[in-house]
Symmetry: C2
Subunit: 125 residues, 2 copies
DNA sequence: CTTGCATACCTTGTAGCTCTAGGTATAAAT
DNA sequence: ATTTATACCTAGAGCTACAAGGTATGCAAG
């Protein structure tokens, strides 16, 4: 699925923070984790992830360190979440909830109105 | 509540489309409707709404016409949703669903992990 | 009649974002 | 020696939010 740019922007930060909050991980794996979490619907490129990781580190919600992977022997840049990061994530969860509630409310009303006009073509006087 | 800019951008289009899909309305009222729908949490400025309405009209998902209000006698620019608009709204609903599912999944796992480490400080070997 | 207020619309400019399209480098497998 | 998967990075075009400004009208109070 090709997300709108706006939705991409809004969801990328909470998704990344949530994934890293589960435990230290690195860029390449995050891309695949997102694909898995979305059931294949979300296909991130690394070109959009790395600038995001750098920005989040700059903001102090993530911190990184280079480490040699024990399994492959390759160098990777592992990211962990900071205290500020957890606080930020919590705030974003709440914001998401507010929007989601509002959207569900309006979409529910749309459906109700549709059903009314389906089953009752004319309004009572 | 002060939404992040990104979430603002992502939610404004589906909210506006949803509101207008219920029936023709105009800018000033949309701002108040959003406040009502969000239980006061969302406070849009008209300065961000009007450019959005113009953009959506340009894209062909909305159409507008000036009309004199029967109640106040003032001129207002009423917006209605087009067929393309309904299609777009439907797509955005689906996209929103995908993101929401992924976020809930990761957030649920975070909670589960938290509870595990609360009630069971050491992992089984 | 004029002052103030709510209604109702619009634009400019800055700052910040995504995402495409490139790039480098290494380990393992063929 | 070549390919594939892994793993990281950046430049720049194009787009957007939003604050801060502006115009205009109907109505009520004094």
């Amino acid at each position: 699925m090709n997300l709108s740019k706006d939705l991409m922007a809004a969801s990328s930060t909470p998704l990344v923070l949530g994934i890293i909050a589960e435990g230290e991980t690195y860029g390449y794996e995050i891309v695949k984790r997102v694909e898995q979490l979305s059931g294949g619907a979300l296909n991130w490129t690394d070109g959009m992830l790395y600038p995001l990781l750098h920005r989040l580190e700059q903001q102090g919600v993530l911190e990184s360190r280079w480490r040699v992977a024990s399994d492959t022997g390759r160098k990777r840049k592992y990211y962990g979440i900071t205290e500020l990061g957890r606080k930020t994530l919590h705030e974003q969860q709440q914001q998401w909830q507010v929007i989601n509630d509002a959207l569900n409310r309006i979409w529910h009303e749309m459906t109700v109105n549709l059903q009314r006009s389906d089953t009752n073509g004319c309004q009572p006087a």
